[in-house]
């Protein structure tokens, strides 16, 4: 019991004293996940919105597939990205394996389906409400996409935060493509796994506490945005 208390105290002092190694890991994690979410937003939002308003054969199947991709196992994504980026893979020439860029790519693969699927749901509900009005105002189906994305912005922020939550807490994919190299690709989750196995619980606990703090902050933001979206009538679109 005394051992645990001592580890907690050490973890606390690492956080409060601004331990350089700890905060470098935190910053790298935030940098990788934020970049991944931004790229996922740029791809997933237009795709999700287009899927919400367009009508074509096979659309229903595509939506089912997209929803299924939300639950992609991170280790499988890590393996696939590894195969693509490895020396003998199609993108091996880029020499991206074991770099933060490889980790961003893996997280983009994981997060984009989440952003696209949630965007599709939100925009489709709004599109149903707006459909006749926008047609009456002469707005074509494709021209309605930016209108819908803008008007659904609060709910879409929730989708992005959900994607960020998935990215920052993910370990399986980034450890495969990043390699958990000290000062290069070591992020919070991979460090926690490594340091725990080494018995260095203080650093693992400190990072765990920060990760939980980030998760709580993200959830608080989601909850606040959801409340605002409800007040604006978005959730009942």
């Amino acid at each position: 019991m005394q051992g645990f208390a001592s580890e907690f105290n050490q973890a606390l002092s690492l956080i409060l004293q601004g331990d350089a190694e700890l905060w470098a890991i935190v910053l790298l994690s935030l940098r990788v996940s934020l970049f991944a979410v931004l790229i996922s937003a740029a791809i997933g939002m237009p795709v999700g919105a287009a899927l919400a308003v367009a009508r074509f054969p096979g659309r229903r199947m595509l939506i089912i597939l997209l929803n299924a991709l939300m639950g992609l196992p991170p280790v499988v994504v890590g393996l696939l990205v590894y195969l693509m980026l490895s020396r003998s893979g199609p993108l091996g020439v880029l020499e991206l394996l074991y770099t933060p860029t490889a980790m961003i790519i893996a997280q983009v693969v994981l997060v984009t389906p989440i952003v696209a699927a949630l965007t599709r749901q939100v925009v489709e509900m709004l599109a149903e409400e707006y459909a006749e009005q926008l047609r009456s105002l002469g707005v074509s189906q494709m021209a309605s996409v930016p209108v819908l994305l803008w008007d659904a912005r609060l709910a879409l922020m929730t989708a992005l935060l959900a994607g960020f939550g998935r990215a920052i807490a993910e370990v399986g994919a980034v450890i495969i493509v990043g390699g958990n190299i000290n000062h290069v690709t070591r992020v919070m989750t991979t460090t926690i796994a490594l340091e725990t196995s080494k018995g260095n619980l203080a650093l693992a606990l400190a990072l765990g506490a920060i990760l939980i703090g980030i998760a709580i902050a993200v959830n608080a933001m989601v909850s606040s945005l959801t409340l605002r979206a409800e007040r604006e009538g978005l959730r009942h679109a």
Binding site: E129, Y130, E132, L137, G138, V147, E232, G233, L234
Partner: protein
């Protein structure tokens, strides 16, 4: 462009219009010509096909059969661009009051300075001057409907369709909307409005289209249809009886 039959610009004509679902005729209008200068009110009980006819006239619904013509030409994108529509429940963008109007004006490529002037004038027209920056979704029912009408008027339409715009409003808010409709009509906007309120038809209509079970049972001058209806369905509806 002038109508081949009446010669009045902006004349709407319906020929052999039919919509059916699961073998049931929802709309069956062999011929209808809306060429009067004042507001046309489409009157009838729930399920009479009033809103369906309005949507066909605005080109929101394609009929199974038949066509709608404006000025003798089958309704096209140019015609639709000169029409506005206000729905029973106002559908407002999740933006400020002013941004809802700006959205329509921007689509007409009006320069920013002119848009600001137009927005101020429109807000004044609808008594919403102090609410420009307020979220449109936070307006009361009457204010929201006024904004919906202003947004439709921002298109400077030749024809304004209104689908029971006051059905959920109290008498005071209804009166404000009716005044807006009459002002627009006085400025030369052709008004085609659906209602089931006989009093409203009496207050606003120049001519009345009486509908029942998807058919037009009578069309004529408001005074004639309301005071000396020719059809048995109109007489029953106006007497407050159940129309079956």
């Amino acid at each position: 462009m002038r109508d081949v039959l009446t010669g009045i610009p902006g004349t709407l004509e319906v020929r052999d219009l039919a919509i059916a679902r699961k073998g049931k005729a929802l709309l069956d209008v062999p011929y209808l010509c809306l060429d009067g200068p004042g507001p046309t009110l489409i009157l009838g009980p729930n399920g009479a096909g009033k809103s369906l006819l309005l949507r066909c006239l605005h080109g929101l619904i394609s009929p199974d059969h038949g066509r709608v013509c404006q000025d003798g030409i089958v309704l096209n994108a140019d015609h639709k661009a000169r029409q506005g529509m206000v729905f029973q429940s106002p559908v407002l963008l999740r933006r400020s009051v002013a941004a809802n109007l700006d959205f329509v004006l921007k689509r007409q490529s009006i320069p920013r300075a002119m848009r600001k002037q137009r927005i101020a004038a429109l807000l004044s027209e609808g008594g919403l001057e102090g609410k420009a920056r307020q979220s449109a979704r936070s307006l009361s029912g009457g204010e929201a409907q006024r904004l919906a009408i202003l947004r439709a008027l921002a298109l400077e339409p030749e024809t304004l369709f209104l689908d029971e715009p006051t059905s959920a409003l109290d008498p005071g808010a209804t009166q404000v909307i009716e005044r807006m409709v009459l002002r627009a009509s006085a400025k030369g906007v052709r008004i085609v409005m659906v209602t089931h309120d006989i009093g409203q038809a009496r207050r606003l209509a120049s001519d009345i289209v009486m509908m029942q079970a998807g058919r037009v049972v009578e069309h004529g001058a408001a005074g004639q249809v309301l005071d000396a209806p020719e059809s048995a369905e109109s007489r029953r509806y106006l007497a407050g009886g159940l129309v079956t």
